[in-house]
């Protein structure tokens, strides 16, 4: 049983100089056999294990992670959370996640620092205006809060934006989702890890998958750097490396893995109290609680697993940032990094069974998976436990690439690819 985090436990631990806090999760050696093995210890994988134990009472579960938990895309994204997607299927999926976010800190007894500071998407040309208005209407029909703002309203909501009509891509309007915002990305992984560990899930770090053992069309187990682990069900949540795992199982996926970059500035006083995204000029920015500007760049157009990305992508993004926010012209950038994102042809994820019995994939989140972490884990746990998708993720099956029933979200994905 984990001790509850509270003001009282904080005071109590201050007497021992905070040196005797209970471990948030253990460091077990893998058992010989598990009911379910989750490959990938990011937010989505840990959330899956958490909900398997909590909602489906399957506790003989291992999460295996080749590095450290939350060290992949969970720790590399720009932490933006929103649900203003166009199609009904996506609206259901992302708003399900947003509703869990709203109560997540209380549920996990772990402060994920969810901040509903609003997300504003800008329009820079007539087509943007039409698309964003259409999306606003679609959102409202699906019960998702969305409003369309004209240029003056954009300026009022975020005064540092340059709304002058003579810039290269003038701001013609925008949409605002007030329930949207940001969260502390590491805390999401840690909170789920702590919760899952408490219920008996084994979190095994520094354990890389080397092969998937099949007999005919069913699963027998996984070969790892810590030995063979027997299991009948595997849930793969390996983000950019999903195709690598799929190849081990002899399965093909409609994915391409590409570097996506982000960067943060030196910390400054509060200057931007919301998240502003611009699809057309490809710049999005928010400010972390430490005061750093958090800036998201675009993907490179070539397949790469190098976690680097090209310099010209960053340059293009900063050009756009400077035109929209001249006030940032003297800011210095502190860090830049890349993550490998697995992109589906329709910019929607796959949370699905596969032709191989007992093998499940949760992948293809592309450039926007962080926002869906709790919902993704919940629905993937449902899919694995029942061997059937939940109605909210039924549309996101692998079969849609054969049937042609795609969920085209390139417009709402906000990162052009």
């Amino acid at each position: 049983m984990k001790n509850k985090y509270s003001i009282i436990s904080l005071i109590k631990n201050s007497f021992s100089y905070h040196e005797n806090w209970q471990k948030a999760w253990g460091d077990p050696e893998p058992k010989k056999e598990y009911d379910i093995v989750i490959i990938g210890g990011g937010g989505h994988g840990l959330a899956t294990a958490y909900y398997l134990a909590k909602k489906h009472h399957i506790k003989n579960v291992a999460v295996i992670e080749k590095g450290w938990i939350g060290g992949g895309n969970t720790g590399r994204n720009t932490t933006i959370i929103r649900s203003n997607y166009l199609w009904d299927a996506s609206a259901g999926l992302y708003d399900h996640a947003l509703k869990i976010w709203e109560k997540l800190s209380q549920e996990l007894n772990y402060n994920v620092m969810f901040s509903q500071r609003g997300v504003m998407n800008l329009a820079h040309n007539l087509q943007d205006v039409r698309d964003l208005k259409r999306r606003t209407h679609a959102n409202r029909l699906n019960g998702i809060d969305a409003v369309y703002l004209n240029t003056e309203q954009v300026k009022k909501f975020c005064p540092i934006i340059n709304t002058s009509p003579d810039i290269r891509y003038p701001v013609l309007g925008g949409t605002l989702q007030r329930r949207a915002g940001t969260a502390r990305h590491d805390a999401v992984a840690w909170g789920y890890a702590r919760g899952a560990d408490e219920m008996g899930v084994n979190i095994i770090q520094n354990c890389e998958v080397k092969g998937i053992k099949r007999s005919g069309d069913s699963i027998e187990g996984v070969e790892t750097t810590k030995g063979f682990i027997k299991t009948k069900k595997i849930g793969v949540v390996a983000a950019g490396h999903s195709s690598v795992i799929a190849n081990m199982a002899g399965l093909r996926l409609p994915l391409e893995s590409k570097p996506l970059q982000a960067l943060v500035s030196e910390p400054v006083k509060p200057i931007i109290d919301t998240v502003v995204m611009s699809n057309a000029v490809h710049a999005y920015v928010s400010q972390s609680d430490k005061g750093e500007l958090v800036i998201g760049a675009g993907t490179d157009d070539y397949v790469s697993y190098s976690q680097k990305g090209s310099h010209d992508i960053v340059e293009g993004t900063l050009n756009a940032i400077l035109e929209l926010y001249p006030i940032f012209s003297r800011m210095r950038m502190l860090r830049q990094w890349g993550g490998i994102v697995d992109i589906c042809p329709d910019a929607s994820p796959i949370i699905s069974k596969t032709p191989i019995k007992g093998l499940y994939f949760n992948c293809g989140w592309g450039t926007g998976g962080f926002k869906a972490t709790p919902g993704s884990g919940d629905l993937f746990a449902h899919t694995i436990a029942n061997d059937e998708p939940h109605k909210l993720n039924a549309a996101f099956n692998l079969n849609r690439f054969i049937s042609g029933d795609l969920v085209d979200e390139h417009g709402a994905a906000a990162v052009a690819h």
Binding site: N247, L253, Y302, S310, D312, F401
Partner: protein, 91 residues
């Protein structure tokens, strides 16, 4: 961020080029006879290899010609470049 030796123009920065995805995916000879599974395989399914991969690239801001490349996607090292229609290197 790397340099690419265009077979027509010589060495240029990668930002002058555009990647065209996996190479040597042959368009089905008789499209009308294809099943939905085969269409999906042709249209969407990709090897997406971590390691040595065969790709198509185009020199967008240069000669605008297409060519093939063999590249290690784990570290972006280019192994070989050859023109369209030429046989891929075996080694």
């Amino acid at each position: 961020m790397f340099l690419i030796h265009c077979p027509y123009c010589g060495e240029r920065e990668q930002s002058e080029f555009k990647a065209g995805g996996e190479a040597h995916i042959v368009r089905p000879k008789q499209p009308t006879e294809l099943s939905d599974d085969q269409w999906a395989e042709y249209l969407f399914m990709r090897k997406n290899i971590k390691g040595v991969q065969f790709e198509r690239w185009v020199h967008t801001h240069g000669c605008r010609k297409w060519f093939n490349m063999v590249r290690d996607t784990s570290n972006d090292e280019i192994k070989a470049i050859y023109k369209m229609g030429e046989k891929p290197p075996t080694k």
